[in-house]
């Protein structure tokens, strides 16, 4: 018995070490990303302005279709011309943080390699923590936070692996992951331990894992939405013949076009919305088992509901004339703010049936 407890303690110790190491590596990745942006600032492409001042040039973008058998029969592959929907600004994506410079690109690649390493360390840290307590590693806020950032980074790396254009998210992501881990290790830290009986249910696996996953993806969506707002005003300024500041010219110019950012955030938000709906329903079923009612307007339930309605409003706004674009983006950010409040605010400040041991 005592022996087992000791192994568990050393595993928990190991988990802590891994999480701290991953923070160190994330810090290096952060610096490498900074270097990427700094070196990238030397390129002066300015293609957004060009596209906006010569509208005709923006009309067509070419995608070469690569699907199909063989791959050598290039002649047979049709070339598909795509264009923006009617009325949308058609601006090419920026070159990315590296700005097309070789040095910037090198640092960018280093940053991603470091992120992969840090992700692996953190993921193993989360798993060892789970093994040390022999349960899902989601019993308190420290564990939620570490899993949360692991999933967010994992999703980002998954996008990269699928060859999606998401490298621009690297710097903001790594920055917030460091913040999240910093808060987790200093303020939210709880020794690894067993679950209180109220949490001991297989619904924990279902409900909490989907909640964390939704949070991580909503987070990526929120970053894209925020950047969209900046980039959109930059493009607006250019289109109206304004003269953006040098920071905007350098940094925003390298981001994907507002249309691409908007599309990205819509896709991720829309894709997890059904899962978020499921999370709430799974939580309701669990509450039905644990407390004898599936819905009781507990603070946590209320804020999950508000978040859900917020994202529903966002999806609606995108289908409502006069609400597309910036207004819809604000709604998405408010909805994500509600998600965050539900996590930090409700757990810490509001008394709720969802208060667990050690925050």
């Amino acid at each position: 018995m005592i022996l087992a407890a000791e192994t568990n303690e050393s595993l928990a110790q190991m988990s802590n070490t891994l999480v701290y190491s991953s923070m160190a590596v994330y810090t290096l990745a952060f610096l490498a990303h900074i270097a990427e942006w700094v070196f990238g600032s030397r390129s002066k492409v300015g293609r957004t302005a060009a596209a906006l001042t010569q509208p005709a040039a923006a009309a067509a973008k070419v995608t070469v279709q690569v699907k199909g058998a063989g791959g050598t029969t290039v002649l047979d592959r049709p070339k598909v011309v795509t264009r923006a929907a009617a009325g949308a600004r058609d601006v090419p994506d920026g070159p990315g943080a590296a700005g097309g410079t070789v040095k910037g690109d090198l640092y960018g690649r280093i940053a991603i390699s470091l992120t992969v390493l840090a992700f692996a360390l953190e993921a193993v840290g989360v798993v060892t923590r789970a093994i040390s307590v022999q349960r899902a590693p989601w019993g308190n806020m420290y564990e939620f936070s570490t899993t949360f950032s692991t999933v967010a980074v994992g999703t980002y790396l998954g996008f990269l692996l699928a060859k999606k254009n998401v490298r621009w998210i690297g710097l903001p992501l790594v920055t917030t992951v460091l913040l999240d881990l910093g808060v987790a290790t200093t303020w939210l830290y709880t020794e690894s331990d067993q679950l209180v009986p109220a949490l001991d249910s297989y619904w924990l696996w279902i409900h909490v894992s989907t909640a964390i996953f939704c949070g991580a993806v909503f987070y990526l969506g929120a970053v894209a939405t925020l950047l969209y707002l900046f980039r959109d005003s930059y493009e607006n300024k250019l289109a109206n013949g304004g003269e953006p500041g040098s920071f905007a010219r350098s940094v925003l110019e390298r981001l994907p076009s507002a249309a691409s950012l908007d599309k990205f955030s819509y896709r991720v938000n829309a894709a997890v919305f059904p899962l978020w709906t499921f999370t709430i329903i799974a939580g309701a079923i669990w509450a039905g088992d644990a407390w004898g009612r599936y819905w009781g307007w507990d603070a946590k339930e209320v804020w999950s509901f508000i978040t859900w309605v917020g994202y529903a409003a966002y999806l609606h706004a995108r289908a409502t004339a006069g609400w597309k674009g910036r207004k819809a983006a604000y709604i998405a950010l408010i909805a994500f703010g509600c998600f965050l409040f539900n996590y930090y605010g409700v757990n810490i400040f509001v008394s709720s049936k969802h208060s667990y041991a050690g925050v």
């Binding site: 005709a56 040039a57 923006a58 009309a59 067509a60 973008k61 070419v62 995608t63 279709q65 699907k67 199909g68 047979d76 592959r77 049709p78 070339k79 598909v80 011309v81 795509t82 264009r83 923006a84 929907a85 009617a86 009325g87 600004r89 090419p92 709880t190 020794e191 331990d193 067993q194 209180v196 009986p197 819509y266 894709a271 919305f273 059904p274 709906t277 499921f278 329903i281 309701a284 079923i285 669990w286 039905g288 088992d289 004898g292 009612r293 599936y294 307007w297 603070a299 209320v302 309605v309 917020g310 529903a312 409003a313 999806l315 609606h316 289908a319 409502t320 004339a321 006069g322 509001v350």
Partner: protein
């Protein structure tokens, strides 16, 4: 990056203005058309129609969604009487100035308040007003045919073209076959084939919104017909499901008492274990209530009720809610006759189950003059005592490691007949006097199990028996409509998934004989929303079609022109 599309230099940003193009995207969804905010036409009917049109517009639906989430906020920050009456009372005491205003605004009952109900009822009226016409429209679309090709396919979001030696009719036929093979609804219209796919998106969207209504109905149904009662049971005691046996009972307005499920159960034992060491010492690890139950006239069965595992008995569920200790005491009078013997459940006041309560001897006791009198004891109990002289009397650990009980004795009238409802855990000492030694200091004693406290003047004794029982409190809930709510929820997720992941899109294939005698094939696609998949799908279709309509070898000049047109 991108070169000018030489075939189409004039029409760059505004693609929908060309005649014939609008129909191409028409009815790709059933979303209501946004109308400009024109004032109502005169007359009552005009006003009603105007109001209805506003209410069922997307804009108002959006505003109502906003209001709904905004309206839900105060209920999470202000204590709600539906959740915790005590907290509401505390809040009212602490904020006397605010209370009248809050009460007027129904802020202690947000989720059943008039204004909150108004928001969601309006939203759901709007929803119904939106779904019904959309459903008809959708049925119409299912019966109809995909619209013909717009004049200039080059303006559509995805476009490709090539020349082939196959005749236009052959291309059309091949295109029909390919598209139908991929489950498009396709037809030939004029010089082009028109096809559409992804109707499930709309169906899913309608299903989702319909499911929301089902869920609301289920929720309302549950509120009207539910019942919920609490009962505290000491180990060895039983409960049978009738109204009189409950400690407290709440039910919806439509609930009838004869709907209570007939069953009874006995609490055989309660087991609680706690973390023994470490920073979380004292944190509960298991709570288990072992019961023997009977349903109707059935046989006895055994079951274990845990925190997340209620016992299901017909339509009812029995939940384990709380637990505590019930020390057994024996009270004797001056002759040594037992006037009270039993387990007295005490209420925990902290996580280590420091408990308080009252022992009431109602009848059977006579004082030294032989007159009837009642006895009362204030009890303060700790399952794990810190040790004499070590700090406070509060419990150090929730398990029965070193149980100690302190008793203070009173005699007089318990005022149980005063007409006021009495709290069984509190002693009303207004008509009682404390036992005192020679009229001096009051009698109070800290006892360990097995110890007896003798009351002064030969007034009798009270014994803290060695056997300490535990109690568990149960909630018995009956909530009809759960199954309906769950079906609604499942349908909502299914519908939503269809609505968000299925793309409704149209494809047109036009083949016309060109000036050089070969056939020019043009293919274009249009989706409900922009999607990366549309160009891919278009290319896939084009690849499939080139099997029947292979690319003709390009004449030298034509090649240059074509590549200028479509390539970077």
């Amino acid at each position: 990056m991108s070169k000018t599309d030489t075939t189409d230099t004039t029409d760059a940003p505004d693609a929908s203005s060309a005649p014939g193009d609008e129909a191409a995207g028409a009815d790709l969804s059933t979303a209501p058309k946004e109308e400009t905010l024109g004032g109502p036409t005169l007359g009552v009917v005009g006003w009603v129609r105007w109001f209805w049109r506003q209410l069922t517009s997307m804009r108002v639906a959006l505003i109502l969604l906003f209001l709904l989430s905004l309206g839900a906020v105060p209920g999470s920050l202000i204590p709600q009487s539906s959740a915790d009456e005590m907290k509401v009372a505390d809040f009212k005491k602490a904020h006397e100035a605010l209370t009248p205003l809050y009460e007027k605004l129904q802020l202690f009952d947000v989720y059943s308040s008039v204004w909150f109900s108004a928001i969601y009822i309006l939203l759901f009226v709007s929803l119904i007003g939106c779904i019904v016409p959309r459903t008809w429209q959708f049925v119409g679309q299912l019966r109809g045919l995909p619209p013909g090709a717009p004049k200039r396919l080059t303006r559509l979001p995805a476009y490709t073209t090539w020349r082939t030696e196959a005749a236009p009719e052959e291309v059309h036929e091949a295109a029909l076959a390919v598209l139908k093979g991929r489950r498009f609804r396709a037809r030939t219209a004029g010089d082009a084939v028109a096809a559409e796919k992804g109707y499930l998106r709309e169906a899913g969207n309608l299903l989702f919104h319909l499911a929301l209504i089902v869920m609301l109905v289920a929720f309302a149904w549950g509120q009207l017909f539910k019942s919920e009662g609490g009962k505290l049971v000491v180990e060895g005691d039983g409960f049978s499901n009738t109204l009189t046996q409950y400690d407290d009972f709440k039910s919806g307005s439509q609930f009838a008492v004869d709907e209570l499920e007939p069953f009874n159960f006995t609490l055989d034992s309660f087991t609680g274990t706690y973390e023994k060491s470490g920073p979380q010492r004292g944190t509960p690890r298991t709570f288990e209530a072992a019961v023997t139950y009977t349903q109707g006239d059935g046989a006895d069965k055994k079951a274990v009720i845990r925190v997340n595992e209620p016992l299901k008995l017909g339509d009812s569920k029995v939940y384990l809610i709380a637990h505590g200790y019930a020390p057994v005491v024996t009270v004797k009078d001056r002759q040594g006759k037992v006037v009270f013997n039993g387990a007295v459940p005490l209420l925990p006041i902290d996580n280590n189950i420091t408990s308080t309560g009252a022992i009431k001897v109602m009848d059977g006791y006579r004082d030294k003059n032989g007159d009837k009198e009642q006895l009362g004891f204030k009890a303060f109990f700790v399952p794990t005592f810190a040790g004499a002289g070590k700090g406070s009397m509060f419990s150090q650990f929730p398990a029965l490691d070193f149980p100690v009980m302190a008793l203070t004795g009173y005699h007089g009238s318990l005022r149980v007949d005063s007409g006021l409802p009495q709290n069984v855990y509190q002693l009303d000492t207004s008509k009682m006097t404390q036992f005192k030694v020679d009229g001096g200091t009051g009698v109070a004693q800290r006892m360990v199990p097995g110890e007896t406290m003798t009351l002064p003047d030969g007034a009798g004794s009270i014994t803290f028996e060695k056997d300490i029982k535990e109690w568990a409190s149960f909630q018995v809930s009956q909530q009809p409509g759960n199954g309906l709510a769950l079906s609604g929820a499942v349908a909502a997720i299914a519908g939503l998934t269809g609505s968000l992941f299925i793309q409704r899109r149209r494809i047109w294939v036009r083949a016309v004989r060109g000036e050089d005698g070969t056939t020019v094939v043009e293919m274009a696609g249009l989706g409900r929303s922009e999607s990366a998949k549309l160009p891919e799908e278009l290319a896939d279709l084009a690849v499939a079609l080139t099997a029947q309509a292979p690319q003709a070898p390009e004449p030298a000049e034509a090649e240059a022109e074509a590549s200028e047109g479509v390539e970077k």
